[in-house]
């Protein structure tokens, strides 16, 4: 949320597909957030906290950088 949110891309939709078309509700349940929050993260409208980001990565069993990629400039 807030500044820089559009500069963080994610592959949640792809990861859900490879996880047997896991539903947004199922992912939300596993991560411990609402389905609306998963929808917002997936669409790039909300950047989650580091903790939630790690929980999403853990739900798919992949490293964090495979789920989120920073696309902005540094410095």
């Amino acid at each position: 949320m807030g500044k820089g949110q559009a500069q963080i891309a994610n592959t949640i939709r792809t990861l859900r597909f490879h996880a047997g078309e896991m539903t947004q509700a199922a992912l939300a349940e596993r991560v411990g957030v609402t389905r609306q929050t998963i929808v917002a993260i997936e669409q790039g409208r909300y950047s989650p906290s580091l903790e939630v980001a790690f929980r999403i990565a853990k739900a798919f069993g992949v490293p964090l950088e495979q789920v989120f990629q920073y696309e902005g400039d540094i410095g």
Partner: protein, 143 residues
């Protein structure tokens, strides 16, 4: 829309309803010259009515929502996004509320009818609530 968003919409609707009634009341029976205590008591009743309408609307939304979605339509536990949106909305509401408080003080300081200051405080509070509700709906949409 989620339960939280429906609740915000219904709260906003009740605020608009009460504001409409207050404006109509002020136009039909202007309170200029009326005792401050009488006006304050009337506005307190308006506040009470607003709380009752909000509770009834929330219960009604849960019942109608459950019938329409054919599953229990209930509030979910707020997560970090809900809390962030609420905090940002409250910041906007606080800004409006502060201006209303300042406006009420200025009205009294410049010798206007204290009744006007009471109205400014109440309407400012309602406006702050409405701004908070609209902010929540906007933040839920844009992130």
């Amino acid at each position: 829309m989620s339960y939280k968003q429906w609740n915000v919409v219904l709260t906003l609707a009740s605020q608009v309803l009460i504001a409409g009634w207050l404006i109509w009341d002020a136009m039909v029976a202007p309170s200029a010259g009326a005792p401050v205590s009488a006006v304050a008591a009337k506005l307190l009743w308006a506040g009470l009515v607003m709380i009752i309408i909000s509770i009834a609307a929330a219960i009604g939304a849960a019942i109608v929502g459950s019938i329409v979605t054919r599953e229990e339509f209930k509030d979910e536990r707020a997560d970090e996004r809900d809390k962030a949106i609420y905090a940002r909305s409250m910041r906007n509401a606080y800004f409006v509320s502060s201006i209303a408080g300042l406006g009420a003080l200025l009205l009294i300081a410049f010798g206007y009818d204290p009744v006007a200051a009471v109205y400014a405080l109440f309407i400012g509070g309602m406006l702050a609530g409405a701004v908070g509700s609209v902010s929540q709906l906007v933040y839920y949409r844009i992130g």
